[in-house]
Amino acid sequence: MKKEILVMKDIVKVYHMGDEEQQILKHINFNVWENEFVSILGPSGSGKSTMMNIIGCLDVQTSGDYLLSGQNVSELNEVELARIRNKEIGFVFQQFQLLPRLSALENVELPLIYSKVPPRKRKEMAENILEKVGLKDKMKHYPNQLSGGQQQRVAIGRAIVTQPTILLADEPTGALDQKTGHQVMDLFKDLHKEGRTIIMITHDEEIAKNAQRIVRLLDGNLSEEVKTDV
């Protein structure tokens, strides 16, 4: 039996819009096991990013319990949350979110700075990761000298360089054309084969099918899981 990395019990998220209360996540129950590749599929506005923010410890639920690697996240303070984000989560965003004034290598080094890895070690780790995502010859390039697909691969490198428990991707192919999107998906599948746990958020049925398991989010309700044959 595999380890349960993520457990969400009865998660509710409410946003206040003036006087109006809006329930964005409605009693979500969701579990992820070690070395799973899960897609959260849903149309725009269904609450996917809200859910990802909670999973990524950037936001807290209004009610319900969220356990990450056995820890109750709502009990943690600002400093401990930052540590969790650094060690347990690797974020990949739709818009890549690379820092424009840093080279590919320096962008990948960024999370290692926050986990206090010494400079020489940091550089070595970042170089290995960039080699792995196929950008060995682009390390010194700045984001504006890279294509969209290359930038997203740098971002993926940055997400996995800390060996996080979960790789968390929000619409990772949303800003890419079909071909580069597929290349990024191939990279995800490789990472999964190596044993990574991946949670990918998408509105695209085809992209979602790259995962082992798909869950559907519609109007804040998580529907039963659909097994894929990957």
Binding site: L58, V79, A82, R83, N86, F91, L110, I113
Partner: protein, 395 residues
């Protein structure tokens, strides 16, 4: 972390060259003003002090109004004072305005000072040509005089006055020396009486001419390493005995303590000027704060991303803090260089020594760093408190 923050700050400053330049301009001007003010004012002070030291240091002045029985000081008193341990010499000063004849012309109301050889030994470098009054002149009451260069020009335009003869109170005096021209400050006594000295003759001659029995004013020259307090005390004892213990019969002025008071005043003036110049640093600091607030707003996404990657609020705060300090210290550095240049040029123009002190440079650096810390902390705290989701959504 520290190193990365510094590199990052540098990159941001380079990326916004024009904006960074305008931001630090306030600090540059403030620090340059402080450095230039301190340096130039210190140069002027040094210059003034040097002149005063030359004339007034190690000098005690006695102004004796005397008692009904004894209306001033005489040679016996001078003998007694001369023997006090620590006193190297005594220069009497008597003064009178008289008419002078030369070549059939009368020059009315000319200031005549009575001096002795000791005075001329001490201020030997005042003589431009000829010689001063010497000990034989004083003892023998020789009819010799030293005149100022202004007076020389008045009497003998374009000529050398040495060895010419003038008539003072109907007696012929030979001019043996002429004073230098640029020496406006003469000696402490004349300086304080604000007289224009024109002619100096042996003091005993002047006493004879005027019929004075006593000397009203004495300059006591003390040894550099003498204990001033003991000397002063001993002088008082001697004077008290001479004037039969009527202590309002004389005034004793210690030039060294006057100089101390002057120096304290100068330092206060200097401090005040620096204080005024520091106001411009506050203005510069507000400029930096403004720039940092803009920077925080512009880089909201970056801050959110850094937080998502695991940056502690403290790290974010540190980074923006370092950026603010970096900017202001950079401004401080440029200000020090510019301030130094201004001081150099100004010192040359005024004709004083360049008095650029390491403490002024340190002060410039310290002030600019302090401005960075004070005005950078609010934007840095704002950045560290940003909510990462709000920050990331603002794309």
């Amino acid at each position: 972390m520290f190193r990365e923050s510094i590199i990052m700050s540098w990159k941001n400053i380079i990326h916004n060259k024009m904006r960074s330049f305008l931001t630090i301009l306030g600090i540059v001007i403030g620090v340059a003003a402080i450095i230039a003010l301190i340096t130039i004012v210190q140069g002027v002070i040094d210059n003034v002090d040097e002149q005063f030291d030359k004339l007034g240091a190690n000098t005690l002045i006695i102004q004796a109004s005397g008692t009904p029985l004894k209306s001033g000081l005489n040679d016996y008193d001078i003998e007694a004072l001369k023997n006090i341990e620590g006193i190297t010499g005594i220069g009497p000063n008597v003064s009178l305005n008289m008419d002078i004849w030369y070549n059939g012309v009368i020059y009315e109301n000319i200031n005549i000072q009575g001096r002795n050889d000791i005075y001329f030994n001490k201020f030997a470098d005042r003589i431009r040509s000829g010689r001063g009054i010497n000990v034989l002149d004083v003892e023998n009451k020789n009819n010799v005089c030293v005149i100022s260069s202004d007076f020389e020009q008045k009497l003998f335009p374009g000529e050398n006055g040495v060895n010419k003869t003038i008539s003072i109170g109907g007696i012929e005096y030979v001019i043996v020396g002429v004073l230098g021209n640029d020496d406006n400050v003469v000696s402490v006594t004349t300086m304080m009486s604000a007289d224009d000295e024109d002619i100096m003759i042996p003091y005993k001659n002047l006493m004879n001419i005027s019929g004075m029995k006593n000397i009203v004013s004495l300059e006591l020259y003390t040894r550099e390493d003498a204990n001033k307090e003991i000397v002063t005390q001993t002088v008082k004892t001697v004077l008290n005995a001479a004037f039969n213990y009527k202590d309002d019969s004389y005034i004793l002025i210690e030039m060294d303590s006057l100089l101390d008071v002057m120096k304290t005043t100068q330092q206060m003036m200097k401090g005040m000027l620096v204080g005024i110049a520091s106001i411009s640093l506050v203005v510069g600091g507000i400029g930096i704060m403004n720039m940092m607030l803009v920077s925080v707003t512009e880089r909201t996404t970056e801050i959110g991303l850094r937080k998502a990657l695991g940056a502690q609020p403290r790290s974010i705060q540190l980074q923006f803090m370092i950026e603010a300090i970096f900017l202001s210290v950079l401004g401080g550095f440029v200000g020090i260089v510019i301030g130094g240049l201004i001081s150099y040029i100004a010192s040359n123009a005024i004709g004083i020594k360049l008095a650029l002190e390491p403490s002024a440079v340190l002060l410039g650096f310290g002030f600019s760093a302090a401005v960075g810390i004070i005005f950078g902390s609010a934007p840095a705290r704002k950045a560290s408190k940003l909510n990462p989701i709000d920050a990331l959504r603002s794309v």
